[in-house]
Symmetry: C2
Subunit: 501 residues, 2 copies
């Protein structure tokens, strides 16, 4: 990759102008049309003051417009901040302020949420996506060459501290991710990638880049629905789909006795561990599941297990893509031996250079050119990666990352809460859900319902604990560190005590 590249959508529209770029319900756009729409949108956004280097929030549901807006920002050299529409105004405002974002583009479906954010951040300039069609275009020069080193997107992700940090991804990161993926998954001239994961997550955003780089059609589902997803695979020529376990399980249930056509060649399964029975059901139905491991910081998958190993290496997420590397940090420095568990370190041109305005967090995560993921895993004798524990006690619920520390911090803001511990427990539908153990201040009175109500404005719905347990003390080690892994047992005790009382 050289540092200057022709704008990807320009290049793609020059190479295959009449190929379909995307299908969003009844709307179909060729690459030529997508380029025209994106450039028109860019000229309108320029008229609203969006300039090179500006961070622009995007609070929109997946759609053709979403894709055009993403490309429009690249034509202006602006930095995209895709926002999770499931977050609360409280959470969104934090990210928007932290990223010094001045413009928020939102769609009708998220209008109320955008207004709530505006209530908290009155300086913010709101731009209604649907309203852009009525605006005049402004003369402005559009980016013809992309700088691979330039930051394309900032996406927020939490960590141990509970405060979300903005992961910077450059054009070069996205490019390398797309190239690494194609060398692993292959590519046909009739490729159709079903995007039923949100485009505001890296799993969805990465499909947008692959589409222009590969010349591939995206089928956009605004909302995941197992029957619709199955219909697209059965009737619309889908060849690849990105899923998390929960989506796949629901699709299998809906699929029943039907089988996918042979052109469907890759079910790319990310976002956390896959249950063994699910993988076995897929194998029985001949569904080609590729398990993957990745995160926002790696611009999507960095390790992938091809289907020929799906059962023989069950539980493994595979091997690092071309150009990417992993290491397991050994206990005594150096690399762990095969089978020995340690922190997973990753390196490659798809890996972030760091966190937005967080030099210290960046320095802590980057160890000699390697990104310390915080996840624990091991490599087997054949070099296959097995992930044992997700980073920083991460809970993955329905494909969304939930950080215990973030929920604990929200609980601790309540005046009656003295201590709080959150962990994930297995859930049939969502894979995992968070539960909370709470120690109240002396003499304080608080019900589960009151706590739930209190959290509603502070946390996205999927982050609110499924159950609350009031306990006398939390399990801690000698130095006072919370032992989250002992919380489930504590919760069971609390439940039994409550039943007996």
């Amino acid at each position: 990759m050289q540092n200057q590249m022709q704008h990807w959508l320009d290049k793609r529209a020059a190479l295959t102008p009449d190929r379909l770029a995307l299908i969003d319900g009844k709307e179909e756009l060729t690459f030529r049309e997508l380029r025209e729409r994106s450039q028109r949108t860019a000229r309108k956004l320029s008229g609203l003051g969006i300039r090179q280097g500006a961070v622009v929030g995007l609070l929109c549901t997946s759609s053709a417009d979403f894709v055009a807006l993403v490309h429009a920002l690249t034509y202006l050299g602006a930095i995209l901040m895709p926002l999770n529409t499931r977050l609360t105004a409280h959470e969104l405002s934090f990210q928007i302020e932290d990223a010094a974002c001045m413009h928020l583009i939102y769609d009708e479906a998220n209008g109320q949420l955008a207004e709530e954010v505006l209530g908290r951040l009155p300086q913010l300039l709101l731009i209604q996506a649907e309203g852009l069609s009525e605006l005049q275009e402004t003369e402005c020069s559009l980016t013809a060459y992309i700088d691979a080193e330039a930051v394309q997107s900032i996406m927020y992700t939490s960590g141990t501290t509970g405060a979300p940090k903005g992961v910077m991804l450059t054009y070069g990161n996205h490019w390398s991710s797309a190239v690494g993926s194609v060398l692993n998954l292959g590519l046909s001239s009739t490729e159709r990638w079903l995007a039923a994961v949100p485009l505001f997550h890296i799993s969805g955003l990465s499909i947008i880049w692959r589409s222009v780089i590969y010349g591939m059609t995206i089928i956009i589902h605004r909302k995941f629905d197992p029957a619709n997803a199955n219909r697209a695979i059965l009737e619309q020529g889908v060849t690849i789909m990105s899923v998390v376990s929960n989506m796949l399980a629901r699709m299998l249930e809906d699929l029943g006795g039907r089988t996918y056509p042979p052109e469907f060649r890759c079910m790319l399964l990310g976002g956390g561990p896959a249950p063994r029975p699910l993988l076995e059901s897929c194998a029985a139905k001949g569904i080609p599941v590729y398990q993957t491991y990745g995160m926002t910081e790696t611009a999507s998958q960095i390790v992938t297990l091809p289907p020929e190993y799906a059962l023989s290496k069950l539980g493994s997420v595979g091997k690092p893509l071309f150009q990417a590397e992993i290491r397991i940090a050994g206990e005594r420095g150096g690399d762990a031996l095969p089978g020995e568990a340690g922190e997973i370190l990753v390196r490659g041109p798809n890996v972030t250079k760091g966190y937005w305005n967080r030099p210290q967090a960046t320095a802590e995560a980057m160890k000699g050119g390697w990104l310390a993921t915080g996840d624990i895993g091991y490599l087997d004798e054949d070099g296959f990666l097995y992930v044992l524990d997700r980073r920083k006690d991460l809970i993955i619920s329905g494909g969304e990352n939930v950080y215990p520390a973030e929920i604990e911090a929200a609980l601790l803001q309540h005046p009656a809460v003295k201590e709080a511990g959150v962990t994930g427990v297995a859930d049939e539908r969502w894979g995992q859900v968070p539960i909370a153990c709470v120690v109240l201040r002396e003499d304080a009175q608080l019900s589960e319902e009151e706590l739930r109500e209190y959290l509603k404005d502070k946390l996205a719905r999927y982050k609110i604990p499924a159950r609350f347990y009031f306990v006398n003390m939390l399990p801690r080690n000698a130095s006072g560190k919370l032992l989250r892994r002992e919380l489930p047992a504590l919760a069971v005790q609390a439940e039994q005590a409550a039943e007996q009382s």
Copy 2:
């Protein structure tokens, strides 16, 4: 692409150890086996004094060993100089001396030629490829990380001056070429590329890199034979084949009424213009021809025409691959208009940084970051490239580049030759062949046979003119520049005069 990458063969052998890397007749090697053989060979070559940065000549016929030798040199960080086995000892010696090459690896089939070279360059260390198996391995450290900026190969190509120049290609050039090609041609997990073009040419060498980067099998034919090539496509699951027009025409003739199976998806046609009837025959037979334009300096194809345009854009070589760009230099500086002919300039991460030890030739060829190809062409309204005249009066005979200036220089060394002009004329079998017009010194006597005999040691057989015409003067412009395009007419006149006398 980052600057440091894991060694490609190491990475590939880790990802797909049991996939077939190559088939050479009855010999089949997996990537694991190819890596083992290449590393063993590297340790033996190290024992013979081959070190990082050394230029090593390779005078071998295509084979599994050829591929292993190429990888072995990368493990030592040595620079590969693949040599054309059809050249004379005279021509080879020039290249070997020019590149300061100290080691020449040759195989039995080219033993006599290697000895002749040794006769001219007694300092050269000859290494017999077949003899390596008896040598001991030496302990040495093998390259684990490839530097994308490092020169991987030097391949000689002639120009207007007649003196061949060494084109330097870095690992990054080869990587970018492979990536640009996969984004255009796609990739399947059962890809098999038939290499019946010589591996010492860029068309063959690039297949070696694609094989390790894609995880794809190469089927090696030591010598092109139309029946064997057809048999491989019909019976061995070949999906892609690289050809020049002459090869394709002979394969069509051999094919007769048979048709290729559907898994054969790409006939990659390079090395000069393709005759219209040939393309029409291929279309009638459903053969998916991709016309391409490229040269050693661009690490193989840089512009490719997909088959859907094969007839509607007949005569075009297509559009530049992802990451690559072309421009047509206009007469008044700047870019030519659509339809306006001018010199073809190319740019991209696959383009050479220059010629080995030729700063002046490099500076002349590189104009503001663009490589001036010397070829003349135009872009149509849709951006498709049409090549009108090959660079520097280049003659392409059976896929081999023949430079008139080089043949003229050889002719002028004969004491009886006063002037010489060489050009290409159409030939049914080879596409083009060179012919020579010669002006003898006053009172000199020389027959065609004597001239032919004189050139035998100086020029490869395919460079020796098919016909010689003795004339009184050569066509020149006002400033004395030879007008090669007028030579065919002069030859016809000379022929008629000879018949009448």
